[in-house]
Symmetry: C2
Subunit: 506 residues, 2 copies
C-alpha cells in the first residue's frame, strides 16, 4: 500500500477533505503518484490517517471531478491515465490530435448538475480487492450451468432467420406487440388478468423503478422503502432527490403498522415493496399484512410499486399470488423481470400499470432510450409462446431448491452460536445476521483473501444499519461447493471473533 | 367524426380547458362517448370548436390523467377501455379480481410529479390517420432489404453457442470490455484516438443524450440546440426542464456567430450539435465553423455534445472527420450509434468522453437500467472484429447513394416552382422547404390519404417555425419507388396550392 503522510490542519478554515485533495494533487503533479497508480480504498486510507471515510471519499470525488483521478466501478480509484496509443494507427491519430499544443484538462467538476450529486452506487457493491474468486455468493448471480442454451439458440435463430425485417425498425416505447401479448398471457400464472395494452416492456426491473420514480417523484417528495430493502430502488430514489423513509421488515414482511404511522404523519408519493420474496430477506408478506397494505394504500391514496422480481422461483408450497391480483382501483404498479429466471444480461423486464400512469412512464421511456432491443424481445416472445420458459422454470426450480437446501443445512452445521439467518422457500439468497461484537470489515477482508465473496448487508440498509448482516446467494454453486464455502465462512467467522475477543482483552 | 357541441363560457373563472374536460367527462359518464371511442385529433377539434390546440390538448391530458381516456402513441386518444378478458382463464382471473366490489379508478392526475409535466413526444411524430402505407419517407427508416441477415445470424449464433455463460451475468454499466475495445479500434476510422476505457456502451444515441443531460443540466439551465434540430435532444432537454436556446443552421451548419452571441449573453451548460450530417438538413459543418465552435467552447468552457449518428453514411468525397478529433481539452462528448448503419431496434450506441464525465454518466446509467443487453453487445463485437460491419457499410453506401440520387433527381423534376431542398451527400434524408402560402396541414392530409408518409418539419423546430418544412427519408425505398412517390408528392403539392389560390380568390 502507498505510504501517505497527511496531517490535517484543523485550524485552517479550509475543510479537511480539500486539504487532503490538495495534498494528493501535489503528489500527482510531482509524479510521486504516477499516472495509473491505484489509490488506497477510502476505508483503508481513512483508518490509516484517522479521518472519516466520508472525508476521504470527498477528496477522491474532487480529484475525479478535476480529471486527476478516475473511479472505475468494480476496480477502485486511479491516478488518471494519459492517452496511451496502442498501435501505429492510433499513435498517428493521437499525434494529429496533439500536434498544435499539449492537452489541457477540462474542469468538469464545476459543471455537474446539482441533481447529479445524488447519483451513487452503494459502497458495498464496489468490489474490494481479494483473492481469485473461488466462491461467489454475491447477489445478481444465476445458475449459469442451467442456462437453456439450445432453446435460446433456437428462438434467437428463428428471429434472425425470418423476422428481422419485421422488427428491425420498430421503436414503440411500449415494446413489441407480440411480446406484450405473451407477457399478458404468462401473467395468468401470477393470477394477474391484464390486456396486452396494460403491459410495457422495459430493460429489466431497474428501468421500471426509475421510470415510475421519474414520473411520480419530485425532489423532496417522500417515498417508502423496505428496511432492509432493494438497493436498486434506493439509488433510483436517491437520484430523484427523494426523501427515502425506511419501514422495517420482520418475519412476516413489511411492518404495516409502522407503515400506517408513516402514512398518517406525511404524504408519501410511492411505496416500494417485494411481497413474494422480500429483497434481501426472502420473507413472504403475510396475508394479514397484504390486506393491511392495500387498505392503507386505499385510505391514503398512495401508489404501490410491487417488485415481483423473484416470484417464479418458489421451491415449496403453492405459488404466492401477486399483490396485483387484489388491485381493484389500479393503484399498483406491477414490475417483473426475466433477469432472474433467465439471465440478467438479457435486460428484459415488464411493467403492468393503469393506462394513465403507463402512458406517462412510456413518455419518459421515449426520452430515456426509446425502446428495448427488438431481437431479444422477439426471441423471448417465442420462448414464452413455445412453453420453453415454463419448461426451463421447472428445471431450474429443482436446481435452486437443492442449492437452497445445501445453503440452509451448511449454515446450520457451520455457523457459530449467535449467527441467525432467514429460511426463505424461494428466490436466490439468504439473509444472515452476525452476533453483536463481530467486526464486519475484518470478516470481509479475511473472506476476500480466501476468495469467498458475498454482498455486505449495508448495501441493503439505510446508513449504518447493515453492518451486522450479509446476503448470501446460493444461485451459482453446486450443493457440494456451497457446503465447502459455508464451512470456510464459519471457520473464518470463528477466527475473527476469537481474535476480536483477544484484542478486546489485551 | 364525432359531433361535439361545446361552447366555452368565457365569463367563468374556470379555464376553458377545464370546461371542455368537464363537458367530455359528462358525455363519457352518460355513455354518449362509449368506451373505446377515438377522440378527434386535437388539431381537428380545435379547428371545429374555434379553440386553441393547446386548450384541447390540456383537456385531453386531464381526461387521461383521470383515467377516463388513454393516449396511445401512434394511435390517438381513446375513451378508456375496461378490462376485457380474452379467454376463459383470464376471465376467471378477472372474476376473482373483481368479486368483492366493482373497480374504482385511481386518481393518477393528482400524483404525477411536477417534473413529469415536461415529458412529451412532438405532436408531428404521433402518426395521423391515413391510407395504407405505400411510401414511407418518415425518419428512422433504414434499407431493410440490405440487412446483413446471414452475418447477423453468424455472430449471434457464435455468442449463443460459445459465450453465453461468460456474458450472461455481466452487468457493468460501461458495457462488455470486448465491445469497448472493438469500438475504440473502430473509431480510428473517424479519426478518434481513444482507449477502451474512454468508451461506454449505451442503448443508442438517445440514452447518451439523456445521461449527459441528467448529469450536466439542472432545471432552468440553458442548453443550445440547432434549429432545425434533432427532436430526440429537444425532448430530453425538455424533460430535464432545461431552457432550450435555438441557434440557427444554414448551408454551412450551425451559425457560430449566433452561438457566440448566445454564449456571451448567458451561461450555457451544453451545446448539442450534429456536425457530420446536420439533423435534419444533412448539411456538413464547414471547417471555419468547426474552428470557431471549438474556440467558443474553449473561451466559455462549455461542453459540446457531438452526435455523430449518421457519419458513416457518406456517399461522396472523403469522410468527414469527427469534431472530437480536435478535442484537446476533453470537453467534447462524442456519441455514436449502430442504429443507422445496422438497424434502430438493435439499441446499441456508444459515448466517448473524459473519465470524470463518463464515470458520472455511468452512475446515472446504473440507476437508469444498469447496462445494455449482453447478447447484442457480444454479437456486435464479433461483427466489428471480423470486419463484417465494414463490409456491410461498403454495400449499404452504394444502395443509399443510389436512393439519394433518385430522391434529388425526382425532387428536381417533380417539385413545383418555389420548393427548395438541401443536397446532402450522406445520411438518410433531405430537408424540403415549401413556398410561402402552402398549407402544410392540407398537404399532409392529402398525402396521408394517398398512403404517402413523411415527417412534418415542425418536429425538428421550436414552436411554430417548422410548418413550411418536411423531412423526407430515402432509406427504405428503391429508386423507382422514390421516383413514383416524389412524383405523387409534386402532384399533390400543385393541387393543394391551386386549391389554396382558389379559396384565397373566393
Amino acid at each position: 500500500m502507498l505510504e501517505l503522510a497527511f496531517t490535517p490542519d484543523r485550524d485552517r478554515t479550509e475543510p479537511v477533505y480539500r486539504q487532503l485533495r490538495d495534498y494528493l494533487r501535489d503528489l500527482i503533479a510531482a509524479e510521486r503518484l504516477p499516472r495509473g497508480t491505484k489509490l488506497p480504498a477510502t476505508r483503508e486510507l481513512a483508518t490509516s490517517l484517522g479521518l472519516s471515510r466520508n472525508t476521504v471519499a470527498q477528496a477522491y470525488d474532487e480529484l475525479v471531478a478535476d480529471g486527476l483521478a478516475a473511479a472505475h466501478v468494480g476496480q477502485g480509484t486511479f491516478v488518471a491515465t494519459p492517452l496511451r496509443p496502442a498501435d501505429d494507427t492510433r499513435r498517428a491519430a493521437a499525434r494529429a490530435q496533439t500536434a498544435d499544443d499539449p492537452p489541457r484538462g477540462f474542469a468538469w467538476s464545476g459543471l455537474f448538475a446539482l441533481r447529479a450529486r445524488a447519483l451513487a452506487v452503494p459502497s458495498g457493491l464496489v468490489p474490494r480487492r481479494g483473492g481469485p474468486v473461488r466462491w461467489d455468493f454475491r447477489g445478481g448471480q444465476i445458475a449459469l450451468d442451467t442456462l437453456p442454451t439450445a432453446e435460446l439458440r433456437r428462438v434467437f435463430g428463428q428471429v434472425l432467420a425470418t423476422e428481422l425485417r419485421d422488427v428491425a425498425a420498430v421503436h414503440t416505447p411500449y415494446g413489441l406487440p407480440v411480446l406484450r401479448r405473451e407477457i399478458a398471457r404468462y401473467l395468468v400464472t401470477r393470477g394477474i388478468a391484464c390486456e396486452p395494452d396494460d403491459v410495457a416492456v422495459v430493460n429489466g426491473a431497474q428501468q421500471a423503478i426509475d421510470l415510475a420514480t421519474r414520473v411520480l417523484v419530485d425532489p423532496g417528495d417522500s417515498v417508502v422503502l423496505e428496511e432492509p430493502g432493494y438497493f436498486g430502488a434506493r439509488v433510483a430514489f436517491a437520484a430523484a432527490q427523494a426523501n427515502v423513509i425506511a419501514v422495517d421488515v420482520d418475519a412476516h414482511g413489511l411492518d404495516t403498522d409502522a407503515l400506517a404511522r408513516v402514512l398518517r404523519a406525511r404524504r408519501v408519493k410511492l411505496v416500494y415493496t417485494t411481497p413474494a420474496a422480500q429483497s434481501p430477506t426472502g420473507v413472504v408478506l403475510s396475508d394479514d399484512r397484504r390486506r393491511a397494505l392495500l387498505e392503507l394504500a386505499d385510505e391514503h391514496q398512495v401508489p404501490i410499486l410491487e417488485d415481483d422480481y423473484d416470484s417464479e422461483l418458489r421451491y415449496e408450497g403453492p405459488p404466492i399470488a401477486a399483490l396485483k391480483t387484489r388491485d381493484r382501483a389500479g393503484q399498483l404498479i406491477y414490475v417483473g423481470t426475466f433477469s432472474k429466471v433467465l439471465f440478467p444480461g438479457l435486460r428484459v423486464g415488464y411493467v403492468v400499470a393503469a393506462r394513465p400512469l403507463l402512458d406517462k412512464m412510456m413518455l419518459a421511456r421515449w426520452n430515456a432510450d426509446v425502446t428495448t432491443n427488438v431481437i431479444g424481445q422477439a426471441a423471448l416472445a417465442h420462448l414464452l409462446a413455445s412453453g420453453g420458459l415454463t419448461r426451463h422454470l421447472k428445471r431450474v426450480r429443482v436446481t435452486y431448491a437443492a442449492r437452497l437446501d445445501a445453503m440452509l443445512q451448511s449454515l446450520a452445521s457451520a455457523m457459530p452460536e449467535g449467527v441467525t439467518w432467514t429460511t426463505p422457500r424461494g428466490g436466490h439468497s439468504v439473509w444472515v445476521t452476525l452476533p453483536a461484537g463481530t467486526d464486519p470489515d475484518a470478516l470481509m477482508q479475511s473472506t476476500l483473501d480466501a476468495g469467498l465473496y458475498y454482498t455486505p448487508g449495508d448495501v441493503f440498509c439505510g446508513d449504518g444499519r447493515g453492518g451486522r448482516h450479509l446476503a448470501l446467494s446460493f444461485a451459482n454453486h453446486t450443493p457440494a461447493e456451497i457446503t465447502a464455502g459455508i464451512g470456510l465462512l464459519g471457520t473464518l467467522l470463528r477466527k475473527q471473533r476469537a481474535s476480536g475477543r483477544r484484542s478486546a482483552r489485551a
